[in-house]
């Protein structure tokens, strides 16, 4: 029997090994340091949303009432709110840089999990890729929730449950602990696009779909966030700042500043779709000159007086 030359045999062996290994690495690798891009919804994400701005949110009446009665003093007066992180749905959207790394089982070379670390509140998340189920109903809920991922071609689809109650928008619009987040991660070269879909039977009438973008920044150094609560305003224990229903004086500011009809700022599924523009035709009177957040591309130029 002819024997293959040793060099050729080694080459074939390597090629076979490479082919065998391919299925495990056929998907996109998201590993790396990612810096956020804020061209979408910059003013909402960087300095934070205006009070009373519920635009683009398919909220129900309960969410609207919760936001209307929200008093932003709560985040300083309630000590337990001072170091409360963003929820896993919001943290990908909020201020902060992202690190992604993979956990590989060395024995099988299979992908066990994808881990993420975000600057804001040092939030870390594990996206389990090993097919494990989500925890039972009685399991504790966390800020980042419990995530599992599956590949859909080169797109990573992540499902997250077991969130703690948090916010959909940082002006008091709530998101319940019953919400389910679906994410679709897609990489285009050095850019990462994450499309998020939030379904919340408590506060939303339709899924809320948003997207965020990141670019690869290998030189990025994510610092330690650090947070320690410190009572700053003497108040009786258990004080929870809130506006009584119908008595929040700030709700119409947003509509006035941007020349929008008040009803259009109140959110709800109807206001999200193009048809709604016809409904409010003639009622939208934009300011002659931009007054607020006129330039908003990064943390350094996005402030209320920037022109």
């Amino acid at each position: 029997m002819n024997r293959l030359p040793r060099r050729r045999a080694v080459s074939i062996g390597l090629a076979v090994a490479a082919l065998v290994a391919l299925p495990a690495f056929a998907q996109v690798d998201f590993t790396g340091e990612w810096a956020p891009l804020y061209h979408e919804d910059g003013p909402e994400r960087l300095p934070g949303p205006e009070l009373g701005d519920y635009t683009e949110l398919p909220i129900n009446g309960a969410a609207r009432m919760a936001a209307d009665t929200y008093d932003a003093d709560r985040i300083s007066v309630v000590p337990e709110y001072q170091c409360r992180p963003h929820g896993g749905d919001y943290s990908m959207r909020g201020l902060g840089n992202l690190r992604v790394w993979r956990e590989i089982d060395q024995a099988s070379e299979k992908l066990v999990a994808i881990h993420t670390h975000l600057l804001a509140w040092d939030s870390e998340r594990t996206i389990w890729m090993d097919g494990r189920p989500h925890p039972p109903d009685y399991a504790p809920h966390t800020w980042q929730g419990f995530s599992t991922g599956v590949w859909d071609g080169n797109m990573l689809t992540i499902t997250t449950t077991h969130f703690k109650t948090n916010y959909i928008r940082r002006n008091g619009v709530p998101r319940s602990d019953k919400a389910v987040l679906t994410e679709h991660w897609t990489r285009h070269g050095d850019y990462l696009t994450v499309v998020t879909v939030i379904e919340d039977p408590v506060y939303l009438t339709e899924p809320l779909v948003r997207s965020d973008n990141w670019y690869l920044d290998p030189g990025q150094n994510i610092g330690v966030f650090g947070c320690e609560y410190a009572p700053e305003v003497p108040r009786p224990e258990g004080t929870v700042p809130n506006h009584l229903p119908g008595q929040n004086p700030y709700l119409k500011e947003f509509a006035d500043w941007y020349g929008l009809p008040f009803e259009a700022t109140r959110g709800g599924a109807e206001t999200m779709y193009p048809e709604y523009q016809k409904k409010i035709a003639g009622e939208y009177h934009p300011p002659e000159k931009c007054q607020r957040y006129c330039k908003c591309t990064s943390l350094f130029d996005c402030n209320v007086t920037s022109k």
Binding site: P85, K178, V240
Partner: protein, 320 residues
């Protein structure tokens, strides 16, 4: 694992048995243990929680034996003991009742009896605030039969706290006055860092303010603030002290904060409406809890949103 819907239905059915004075203790026979799934879940340290129909049962195990917080419904006691025996063969030496309702005390007598082993030197101590003993040993509402003495607390306390040391850790029982009832206790396992709250904290529904048994909104808020005082979260408001509610999933301080906020805000609104002279009917019509009803409210079952609104109004206005 129970789905939320199954849990709601079960709580509705069983709650009716617990809460209605007219049927209290009369109908536990309706509960078929064969149809009830009990789940034992580790919490942390030496503490587990036994979940299923009825109230959560906190189980602490170690070299000294077993301590329980609450005992569930009477018909489920043998099944609950079976679950406990999967994690410890030690004798049940301590039982703490967080309050008087039968979904938390119904198993007292059977658990005390079935929990004894050759290592037992006598029946377990059954600890409760003295108002629990008063209510269990006295005449029962409606035509309910007298509760057998072996089910009564035999180690009642009337000071703000009671403590004991068991399985290598301090166990501190705090009385939280006039909250869910007038005999509520919360139980802190100090080394394990687990707090068992009874029904002053039920994250899946509005709190049950049992006015007829001394409950009040202000007491309930004070109790929730007490829980927040005791609990210490780990990094960024998560984990640390774990909280076992009277019903529902495992929680930590942040979950209690959301619940306390909800009740405090509702209290503030009702106070304002009462100050303006609004009647109960006007308050109901104002739908002052609408932002929380989709999370905590119910239109069916034994504790509806209407009943909660009525209890809050009566508690704050003093009108019955």
């Amino acid at each position: 694992m129970m789905t939320d819907m199954r849990l709601m239905v079960a709580r509705g059915l069983l709650g009716a048995i617990v809460f209605s004075g007219a049927v209290c203790f009369a109908q536990p026979a309706q509960i078929n243990p064969d149809n009830v799934q009990l789940t034992m879940a580790p919490v942390q340290g030496s503490v587990y929680v036994l979940m299923g129909d009825g109230g959560n049962i906190t189980v602490q195990v170690g070299k000294d034996g077993v301590a329980l917080v609450d005992t569930g419904f009477a018909p489920l006691a043998p099944k609950a003991i079976g679950e406990i025996r999967k994690i410890s063969n030690g004798p049940i030496r301590w039982i703490v009742n967080t309050h008087v309702h039968t979904d938390h005390t119904g198993g007292n007598a059977q658990m005390a009896k079935l929990g004894m082993t050759h290592e037992s030197v006598g029946p377990p101590r059954i600890v409760a605030q003295s108002n629990v003993l008063n209510r269990m040993s006295g005449a029962q509402p409606g035509n309910q039969p007298k509760i057998p003495e072996e089910a009564w607390p035999n180690d009642e306390y009337f000071l703000p706290t009671k403590d004991f040391f068991f399985n290598g850790e301090a166990v501190v029982v705090y009385h939280v006055p006039n909250a869910h009832t007038d005999g509520d206790s919360i139980v802190f396992f100090r080394r394990s860092d687990v707090l068992s709250t009874g029904d002053v904290f039920t994250p899946g529904s509005y709190p049950i303010i049992d006015l007829s048994r001394g409950g009040s909104v202000e007491g309930e808020i004070n109790a929730l603030n007490k829980i927040i005082d005791i609990t210490v979260p780990a990094k960024y408001q998560e984990g640390g002290t774990m909280v076992i509610p009277g019903h529902g999933r495992l929680c930590d301080e942040a979950d209690v904060v959301e619940y306390r906020n909800m009740l405090t805000i509702i209290r503030d609104r009702f106070r304002d409406m009462i100050k303006k002279g609004m009647t109960l009917e006007q308050v109901k019509a104002a739908k002052a809890t609408a932002d929380y009803d989709t999370q905590y409210g119910s239109t069916t079952g034994f504790w509806t949103t209407d009943m909660f609104v009525e209890a809050v109004y009566k508690s704050l206005s003093g009108k019955t």
